[in-house]
């Protein structure tokens, strides 16, 4: 049984559909990404999973339970880190951990958890005095202190510097290694590509695609890009006739082609046949960024 099941979820605000028929299932032990541009309906979707919002239609189940009707039992198995939530400014890290542990029936021991998240030296520091990264680590700790089976992390690394972001990624991998399923909401491609086993790309309230990061990249037209500066001019017609070519660009004597591995092979053959040398030859896979733009533009 999937840990989280969302089926044809719909939610409107003031007549405007924000989530418009979203379905996905998160399996035990995976890091599942919800990726999409700002305002795509990501947060509303996970808020329905957390039981913070009541769906207009559709079905949400967390370990088989309804997050609205069974709020307490769902909150016992699901830990949440919310976007834009704070704690009382004068509450210390230790007090926050003790409080949130006390709110759960079978909490984890917060001391090793705090150590693991690097909160040990700041247990007596008040929330208001923590840096952005420290606050986020505390929120991860609070999401885990109830010893949940699944955690929802919403825009966890937004506002962190690159170093703190990479440290946080390691923490997320550690959480999964500890046996906890992760539902990760993000708009950072690099983060999704690096961490997620599968990604649901959400755009304008709908799932535009659901696949592994590699699968999403393969789906986009022109998944491979080859660029070079030829030592002698090439016939443009020859280049345009390359197999599985998705796009071609000629600028300042540089040729940039996108397509598949097939296209790359044909370019190499063409160069050899015409005895043209390719200077500064680069072959790259498109990033999730490009795939994402393809996917979200397709519905424009």
């Amino acid at each position: 049984m999937p840990v989280i099941e969302v089926t044809d979820l719909r939610k409107s605000y003031g007549g405007r559909p924000v989530v418009d028929g979203v379905s996905f299932a998160v399996e035990e032990g995976e890091i599942f990404g919800v990726l999409g541009p700002n305002g795509a309906g990501k947060t509303t979707t996970v808020e329905c999973v957390e039981g913070l919002r009541v769906p207009d239609a559709g079905r949400v189940r967390v370990t088989g339970l309804d997050p609205v009707a069974d709020h307490r039992r769902v909150a016992e198995v699901l830990g949440a880190q919310l976007q834009q939530s704070e704690l009382q400014a004068k509450l210390t890290v230790r007090e926050a951990l003790e409080l949130y542990a006390a709110l759960h029936p079978k909490p984890a021991d917060w001391r090793p958890l705090a150590e693991r998240l690097g909160l040990g030296p700041m247990l007596n520091t008040r929330f208001g005095k923590l840096s952005g990264g420290q606050k986020q680590r505390l929120f991860i700790a609070l999401a885990l202190v109830g010893d949940p089976r699944v955690v929802v992390l919403d825009e966890l690394t937004t506002g962190l510097d690159p170093r703190a972001r990479r440290e946080t990624w390691q923490l997320i991998e550690d959480i999964r290694a500890g046996g906890v399923t992760v539902l990760l909401v993000t708009h950072f491609m690099e983060e999704a590509q690096r961490l997620c086993d599968r990604i649901a790309v959400i755009d304008r309230g709908r799932v535009a695609a659901l696949d592994t990061p590699a699968g999403l990249i393969r789906r986009s037209a022109g998944a491979t890009v080859i660029s070079f500066t030829p030592s002698a001019p090439l016939e443009e017609a020859d280049l345009r006739a390359l197999p599985e070519l998705a796009s071609a660009d000629f600028k300042d004597g540089r040729v940039t082609l996108s397509g598949t591995d097939e296209t790359v092979n044909a370019v190499v053959t063409l160069l050899a046949r015409t005895r043209v040398t390719a200077h500064q030859l680069r072959v790259t896979d498109t990033t999730l960024d490009d795939a994402f733009l393809d996917l979200t533009e397709a519905t424009a």
Binding site: L52, V54, A75, E95, L103
Partner: protein
């Protein structure tokens, strides 16, 4: 935010936390706990306030100011303390964060009410004790009636605070509305002119307000009589009305 029927509206860990945080707010501590008694001490140090006055029905002004000081702490707490804290909690997503745990955010609301109500009672006891020890003001002649009137006054103040918290979308609005309401409330409680000394008509109008009714009930119990049922009924009516309004309009986010 509708999240089903709530049964987890009280939690001791949340209450302990809120009590701890309250102790870290020097401003709230001063205005709720120290200021009312300090005002009593200042007024009591004026010699003329310690002489019997016909305008106060033969009481000394300092006698009449003890019930005023008793009401002052809960007026400040209900109108300024609690709404500020609760709107701040809503504004900064603290209520939302709590609703993602097995405990309902209502636990924060009830803990705030308990802390604020408890502080109001401590403040009242302090005023009574200082009045008795420093100025020889007789303790309430009808202690049970006095306590009853005080508890009803605390409930009315908390429900008024809950309405302000419900209607104020930001802490700034809560602060402005709280201050605007504080002066009429303090007037009704008799801070400028104890209700016994008010002209008859004014006294009767003020008697329909929560703090005016509370002041009159406390005065009666202080004099040794059972507080008038009409005053107690006014307090209960306000509490019911305001609580209904607060639960109708309160938003968790």
């Amino acid at each position: 935010m509708k999240t089903g029927i709530s049964t987890d509206v009280f939690d001791t860990a949340v209450l302990r936390t809120e009590l701890r945080l309250f102790r870290r707010e020097p401003g709230a501590l001063f205005w709720m706990l120290v200021f009312p008694t300090l005002l009593l001490v200042i007024l009591g140090s004026i010699p003329s306030f310690r002489e019997a006055d016909a305008a106060y029905g033969g009481l000394r002004p300092v006698d009449a100011y003890v019930p005023v000081a008793v009401l002052l702490g809960l007026t400040v707490g209900g109108l300024q303390g609690m709404p500020q804290v609760l709107t701040g909690y809503r504004e900064r997503g603290i209520l939302r964060r709590m609703s993602a745990t097995p405990v309902r955010p209502a636990a924060l609301l009830s803990a705030q009410m308990a802390v604020c109500g408890g502080a109001a009672l401590v403040s009242a006891l302090l005023a009574l004790a200082v009045g008795r020890l420093a100025f020889d003001v007789a303790l309430p002649g009808q202690p049970v009636g006095y306590l009853l009137a005080l508890l009803l006054a605390v409930l009315a103040a908390l429900s008024l605070g809950a309405v302000l918290s419900a209607l104020s979308r930001t802490t700034k609005i809560a602060g402005a509305v709280g201050s605007a309401a504080l002066f009429p409330a303090m007037f009704c409680a008799g801070v400028w002119l104890p209700v016994q000394a008010m002209p008859d008509l004014l006294g009767r109008v003020v008697g329909w307000t929560p703090f005016g009714a509370a002041a009159q009930a406390l005065n009666e119990a202080a004099a040794g009589d059972w507080p008038g049922w009409s005053h107690l009924a006014v307090l209960v009516a306000w509490t019911v009305l305001l609580t209904a309004a607060a639960s109708r309009w309160f938003r968790w986010e």
